[in-house]
Symmetry: C2
Subunit: 345 residues, 2 copies
């Protein structure tokens, strides 16, 4: 009896930790036990990057993301462009054409107006580059010390043009494709935050993926599923894909594209690039017959020129991601509980 | 020459202040000079509570709001229910049926899980009460001290069922109606924050207005415009309505409904109830011929039982809100630059 009371007490005393925002196992558990349990409905339960809702005869994708990246400016981007691209990409990976974006800014009292102006200008440029319109917004200001400079929420609406992107459509033997080198975004933010240089400056990969993804989806009807490997990186995304599925993934470490700068940073700091966030990459699962068309279409776009096949769907180890390592070994790639790097988006 | 350089320097050095988040004049200027200038497009330029966008043959309302209320629990509500109702109401006042809500939470490390659970439970109950579904979400965690417990963004999508709500449709002689006593939300938050009691506990008016507004809109085709008087209160909303218009508003102070508790608090603290935020009230402009139908429909709903005509549209002082005071005087009610009370939503 005391045991149960103790567990209850522990649960009651539990605090939110940084791990709960990591994209990893702790976050998934929090989302399931608090948000999914309370908000339970069939649309939310699909756990897609965007909710797919019906309005009239149209299928609409709807998504939201809050950005708390620290620092707010980093090589290759800033919190403003990141917030626009992140929401554009969450719509795109659901087979939707991103159309309209909302912006909710929470600003710390004392922020320089020219810093705000630079961020807002960056959002406008990002929206223009991605071909979306920022149509509604909200501004809140809190006392100095009540938030860290600026947090930005972007929500987005898109029109679904490619139906049937679903984990349920994935089949044994399908290819796992990544659209370019991984981890540059996380290392760019980290290097700026910690003031570390890795020989060369690593620039964030943050970019809008809508046009590249459209080319891919128009190239084949056998694209099964897509997700952008943001928080938790490629390893977490692959684990999300196989979680509760009747298949697993076999990935080939030597085939995973990693830039020189990211490789050096990982060696120096002991990070695994597979867990580093990207903000301009996508993981695509496609039928084996479709792989040439998909890669060709992907590489026709600047955002997909580094596209590579990095693995296969397999029935041999359901629910698991197995990596054949560069040194000839073989290991399970699990979801981390927390994260290597907090506040990268 | 030095003068111009000095002004430029001042502008460059300018910092964001609490007034920029107040809902008043400083905020409107910031939004115009930073956000509207950069994001300029015809949809945003309408400055409605929701953007009205076309998808296929449907008109969709899309809105966003971030909630930073302090304290997060107050008599009559909490940050969770407030966030749901606020977005439901921003859709409703645009003649839309609220359908889908997104939730973006930024949580401070160390927040008690049961506090989070209570807020999320409150959001679920609020969504159920309002008849909307929470279909997508995002969770971020920041270090202790990098935000004040929890900020919540809600964005929402609704389907427009009543067209033509626009300031442009307002005519000389139209009635100005408020759906109930004003200022209870602001005083409820303030009293909890400062630990002040005003004889009786003032409870927030926070409530979903979608059903009441639907009754009103189905009762007459001559409802011209609606807006919920949140930040900046009724005075600010009336000023927004007449700003840049060829008409003004003449309001009657004795007719403005104010509860006993709010009146006492205002006398004690020197507040003007006209500037106090409501989160469950709406200002309706309707044709004079429609007023009886509108009031009858409004009072048929629990949320509108205190509905009153408080003024008239007039051509005699364009762009101005004039108040006939209880003491028989007459004064201009202007938009404040800042706010009497920060962080009430």
């Amino acid at each position: 009896m005391r045991g149960i009371l103790q567990i209850r007490e522990d649960l009651k005393m539990a605090k939110i930790t940084m791990a709960h925002g990591s994209g990893g196992g702790a976050m998934h558990k929090l989302i399931d036990s608090v948000f999914m349990r309370r908000f339970s409905n069939p649309i939310l339960a699909q756990k897609k990057d965007s909710a797919i809702i019906n309005i009239g005869s149209k299928e609409i994708a709807f998504t939201t993301d809050s950005y708390v990246v620290n620092p707010i400016f980093f090589p290759g981007g800033d919190i403003g462009s990141l917030a626009v691209y992140g929401t554009v990409n969450d719509l795109s990976v659901c087979g939707a054409k991103p159309l309209y974006i909302s912006v909710g800014a929470v600003i710390e009292e004392g922020l320089d107006r020219d810093v705000l102006d630079k961020i807002v200008g960056s959002m406008a440029a990002a929206a223009s580059r991605a071909g979306v319109q920022i149509v509604t917004g909200d501004t809140k200001v809190v006392e100095h010390g009540a938030c860290d400079r600026i947090f930005i929420n972007t929500s987005g609406i898109g029109e679904v043009y490619y139906r049937g992107l679903s984990v349920k459509n994935i089949r044994d033997g399908d290819c796992v494709i990544v659209s370019g080198p991984i981890g540059d975004h996380a290392i760019s933010v980290l290097s700026k935050r910690e003031g570390i240089e890795f020989g060369t400056t690593v620039k964030s990969d943050a970019a809008p993926l809508n046009r590249m993804i459209r080319k891919v989806l128009l190239s084949s009807e056998e694209v099964r599923f897509m997700r952008d490997p943001t928080r938790g990186g490629v390893a977490t995304t692959l684990n999300e894909i196989v979680s509760a599925a009747k298949f697993g993934i076999e990935a080939e470490e030597p085939k995973v594209p990693v830039s020189q700068g990211v490789r050096q940073a990982c060696e120096l700091l002991g990070f695994d690039p597979l867990y580093l966030a990207c903000e301009g990459r996508v993981i695509i699962i496609a039928a084996d017959e479709a792989k040439d068309d998909v890669l060709k279409a992907m590489r026709r776009d600047a955002a997909g020129q580094g596209g590579k096949i990095i693995g296969r769907i397999t029935k041999s180890h359901p629910g698991k991601v197995i990596l054949n390592t560069a040194s000839g070994g073989r290991r399970i790639v699990d979801m981390l509980s927390g994260d290597q790097l907090p506040r990268i988006c």
